[in-house]
Symmetry: C2
Subunit: 409 residues, 2 copies
């Protein structure tokens, strides 16, 4: 069943010069479905990434961090699989990842050290790399300009729809393209949730600048969503830059010529991130939470996150109940500076609470009508400063329980 919050269609994504891909089936799922994505970018490409902060991590994220650091961001390819996370698999998992990457490198004509890896699926299961290695030669032979929709499908797990976003923009007058795909549905929280996201641009951007760009983009997108506050061992956002566009090479992320690119990248990543919330396990409502009047940006973020992660807020939303008292509770348990006598809570245009108590014009009928919408906006003013934060979450429904009580078996 496709999420009721899914976009009408997969977007048209721009061609990104130099990016080739092939998808295939290694067989990590019993049923027939693609589960392998092989990507090649040309010589001279750079890559940068942000990875899960979960301290258990996984063989592929450990590999990527090392490869990016030791190779200075000079990367030629990516091997991603669904159906097995290869996390918490010890030295055997590291070895399996390395063998799969050796096969992938051979398939695209690159060195193993120039490869990145990403895996998603059940934690604790060792990657059967032989299954990938068996099909990688044929994938290498099938490389072609990316079919973004097919690539997005190959990395899905409990996702109900494939996720893509992109943009055309310019750097110093030269046309550049951005395209990205992502997967993610549960185990979603700030600090990188169970999510793989790969973005590609044809811009010429040196690796250190790319690293700064991708970190900022993650902070404003994937780190501003939550489905269930759980955060996985395998998350990554990797940005590849092929350098095939005609822009002068950018070596400093603070270069003012990057302004349009940066905005386009951030927008595309935010779009992908919100698609993940739209596909939140069991989600029936998309909720945008805005906190204003906070003491600092960080404080606004912590309050927004506490609201977005509160099971009682999320179940009330599932019940189409404008239970603003639970929002007040969540604000209070965020342990941040607030002036409760100035606290206000709005659902869309409707004040539920104002100046530290129920709003004098509170109208249950209007409120109930608003709560029936599929997309809700909640705004909380905490009355102590001028900082704000925006975060997206979804409701918590019985379907989330169904999906997650039965996932592994």
């Amino acid at each position: 069943m496709i999420s009721p919050l899914a976009p009408a269609a997969f977007p048209e994504l721009p061609k990104v010069a130099g990016v080739e891909a092939a998808i295939g089936r290694a067989g990590y799922y019993k049923h027939e479905r693609p589960d392998l994505l092989l990507v090649r970018v040309p010589e001279g490409s750079t890559a940068a990434g942000v990875f899960t902060t979960n301290s258990v991590g996984s063989a592929p994220t450990d590999w990527c961090k090392r490869a990016l650091s030791e190779g200075g961001g000079k990367i030629r390819g990516l091997l991603a699989n669904a159906g097995c996370a290869n996390s918490f698999t010890g030295p055997a998992g590291d070895a399996a990842a390395a063998r799969a990457l050796a096969s992938a490198a051979e398939a695209i004509g690159a060195k193993q050290s120039e490869m990145l890896a990403a895996s998603t699926g059940v934690i604790g299961v060792l990657l059967n790399d032989a299954k990938a290695s068996a099909v990688l030669p044929s994938l290498g032979a099938a490389l072609q300009p990316v079919d973004w929709l097919a690539a997005a499908r190959a990395i899905m797990t409990t996702d109900t729809f494939p996720k893509g976003a992109g943009a055309k923009t310019t750097i110093a007058g030269a046309d550049v393209a951005i395209a990205g795909i992502a997967k993610g549905s549960g185990m979603i929280a700030p600090s990188m949730a169970t999510m793989l996201a790969f973005a590609f641009t044809d811009a010429k951007i040196a690796a250190p600048a790319l690293q700064a760009l991708v970190r900022d983009a993650a902070d404003m997108s994937f780190n501003r969503i939550t489905v269930d506050a759980d955060r996985s061992t395998n998350d990554c956002l990797i940005l590849f830059a092929t350098g095939q566009a005609k822009n002068p090479e950018i070596t400093d992320a603070a270069d003012p010529r990057l302004a349009d690119f940066r905005a386009a990248l951030n927008d595309a990543m935010a779009d992908l991130a919100i698609q993940i919330v739209r596909d939140g396990e069991g989600a029936a409502k998309l909720v945008k939470v805005t906190v204003t009047g906070a003491a600092s940006d960080q404080s606004a973020f912590v309050i927004a996150r506490t609201i977005c992660e509160s099971p009682l807020v999320k179940t009330a939303i599932a019940g189409e109940d404008a239970n603003w008292g639970r929002i007040v509770m969540a604000v209070g348990r965020a342990d941040q500076p607030i002036a409760k006598e100035k606290l206000s809570v709005k659902f869309g245009p409707l004040f539920a609470a104002k100046d530290g108590m129920i709003s004098p014009d509170y109208d249950e009928a209007k409120m109930s009508a608003y709560m029936k919408r599929a997309e809700l906006a909640i705004e909380v003013h905490v009355g102590v400063g001028t900082s704000a934060a925006v975060m997206h979450t979804c409701d918590l429904t019985k379907r989330y329980i169904e999906i997650n009580a039965d996932y592994r078996s």
Copy 2:
């Protein structure tokens, strides 16, 4: 429907000399049920409490903190109501609480400043104190030695069974009694969850010593449970000491003569706290999580709490799935020192993971059989030190969603 984890019966609680109570109906619920508890303790009694750390708080918790501090713990009575939290109700809420307490004080023949208050119910609704004041004179006339079961029933909200625990112990050879009641089912987290708990002893203990005792008891009981990580605006644990027992007055919580009393109090409070988890909204399984090998007590607690609060761990347990990968994920997202190559996870006597990967003798059939139990023990060793922590939680079921999607309306 009574929780499947409920104890077989309400326990026999000891008589605590000097404590009188009356219950009644103010009408905070539409249906016929008791919603008011009036307690009187004799002249010379002391009281101490711990209160929610939620920064929104409530009129009754604000009142109690002030009354205990200004009165030096000399307290004569308590007025508790269910059906209205009187939280986030501004100055009008404070005034309503004060008026209700004036009536209660008059009913028991004490001063308003010697009264404590506790309210539980929907946040944001102003207490209609006239409803309480109308019945308080008759409650004052009906005071008698406490019927603990009736008192426990009068403070229930979504609870499915009344909660009590007590003990007989000694201080310096003199017999003393402890009896406590509690309510709580959802919005339960460390740092005092949506829970009211009142404990009474006939021991002679000065207020500052009582305060230290009650704080320690809360830390080892109510602060070691979680249902949904949400924490309310109204929680309190209040301990009254009537001084009617024959023990020499204790003025220092570190007095070695308190050892037995302290242990008995902590056990009784832990019993009450675990009863709250047994009544966790929708709970079908009680889960004891033990973390060992941690770098510090606090670190062990943070890891245990992260496991206990993980929606994915809790839904897996609901599904009777020994999804130890999710436990590993939760350990990793606790952001605490761990040695992942030494990490082990046990369900009861069965190792799921050992030394950083799946246990060599992992047996899915045995594991599945274990997971069908109503009470589960999960032990996680994190391999960096010698500290440990124990925490209790419950599973996350569809029934939790049902209860909370529809609570207010």
